[in-house]
Symmetry: C2
């Protein structure tokens, strides 16, 4: 009863279990694709995590996450690059499909979002030789505009793809429906991303209306307003047939339920809504 095409981003059960236990529950449900976060890998130990991945033949649809490039001082930006190089090495060790980049927002008390965006592009450019040498694709994840100040100043798929074009091979995008579902230009930009062969990951969850918290009130697929099947159809038409990766931050709901119940629901909703 292998569940084809479904990946679980381990943030979805981060409140309930660590890496090994999360993997065990996924396997029990026939899920053989996951995407862990670096802190989850670190808590288990990189080598042990790699062993678990290899021993179970797991596919890693991504490692979360690198990024956070902008900083007021050059030394801060260098420090960020060092950390990103370690993230690339970890992704290589784990055999992840890509390193997901949450690029960072405005540094310090800056009001210069154009400047922050330049720092992001320069940061990725500086990182690319290491990523290419390690064979780790970098996936820029455009984040919802409500995170522009403090998490990511790359806020549309179009903007991310412009950056990919400027940066060249080895950089693509992670398309998370939560961040892009509202975009009037979404259909065009998915097609463009496909033509660029730049779709490296497809994350799913749902947008709840109302949303009660800007960070940790994401919905289970089917509980919100996103046309998940419609977006998936466009992504497949653009040539990406990789797994749909469930990533749900839900402090007041899913993080409070048993992990087994959460994963059971992910499978059900993946089958009925995606």
């Amino acid at each position: 009863m292998h569940v084809e095409g479904l990946s679980i981003n381990l943030a979805t059960v981060r409140a309930q279990c660590g890496f090994a236990e999360a993997v065990e529950i996924c396997l029990k449900h026939g899920i053989t694709a996951i995407a862990p976060w670096r802190d989850q890998v670190a808590a288990t130990g990189l080598e042990e995590a790699a062993r678990i991945v290899s021993a179970n033949g797991l596919k890693l649809t991504g490692l979360c996450r690198g990024g956070f490039f902008p900083a007021v001082e050059a030394a801060g930006r260098e420090k960020a690059l060092d950390d990103n190089r370690r993230a690339i090495d970890e992704a290589a060790t784990l055999g992840a499909d890509c390193l997901v980049l949450v690029v960072g927002g405005l540094p310090g008390a800056s009001k210069d979002i154009d400047g922050a965006r330049r720092m992001v592009e320069e940061g990725i450019a500086a990182l690319l030789p290491h990523a290419r040498a390690a064979g780790v694709p970098l996936a820029i994840e455009p984040l919802h505009p409500m995170y522009a100040a403090d998490r990511a100043c790359v806020n549309t798929l179009r903007q991310a793809l412009d950056m990919c074009e400027a940066l060249g091979p080895g950089v693509g995008v992670a398309i998370d429906v939560y961040h892009v579902w509202w975009d009037p230009d979404l259909a065009n930009q998915i097609a463009r991303a496909g033509a660029m062969k730049a779709i490296f990951a497809h994350h799913i969850c749902d947008w709840l209306a109302p949303t009660r918290d800007m960070l940790t009130d994401r919905g289970m697929m089917g509980d919100g307003v996103i046309d998940l099947k419609g977006i998936r159809h466009r992504i497949e038409a653009a040539g990406f047939h990789g797994a749909q990766e469930v990533e749900i931050f839900s402090a007041e709901n899913w993080w409070k339920r048993p992990a087994d119940e959460v994963i059971t629901t992910c499978v059900e909703r993946y089958r009925s809504c995606c």
Copy 2:
């Protein structure tokens, strides 16, 4: 001590005072431009509000608000149009520069945002003859993408201007920095809006980092991350020299302070930050 170029959207002091008192405080501070909300006008009475406006030579930089066009049933959409026609009549009676449109989000349990957007365009098209006959410009206000589901499915300046082009004369945009500051395409679209002579209003406040509430945690100019002077510079370069209208929803801060203190601060920050 007339404060040139500053307008107060009366939502900024809606918790503290009604229409007449808010006007009195604005006048005391040398502010002769305001933008009331329909419920504030209704509470005073339309005729009395119009008398206060006229007797004090007030400029109305807008009336808030029409819109909310999408509805599941045709009857619901007709009802919305009727209400919008009344809003146009009120704007005409008050001599407002424009009627601001918050266009509405997804109707019912819909996941069809393209469909909602078509309903918006059809709704404005149906409203236009009445607006033109009344001499009331309609200002589409693109709202931040975090409101796409429940308040407005027009979420970028580009999208709003595309709609204006399709609809023809009598429709333009209200550019509120809170909703558009993050947009990588902002500079281009402000220039385009200017070339179209479609900038009908310019609203200001600030984006706080972190933002604690999606609706009622807007910041006073200078307290957040928005490059207010930079955006104003572009708007003036595009040919709009109308007032900057302060619109702050702030349940936990500014709505709890005396209105006089709020308006004093608006004037100070307008002079130093805008």
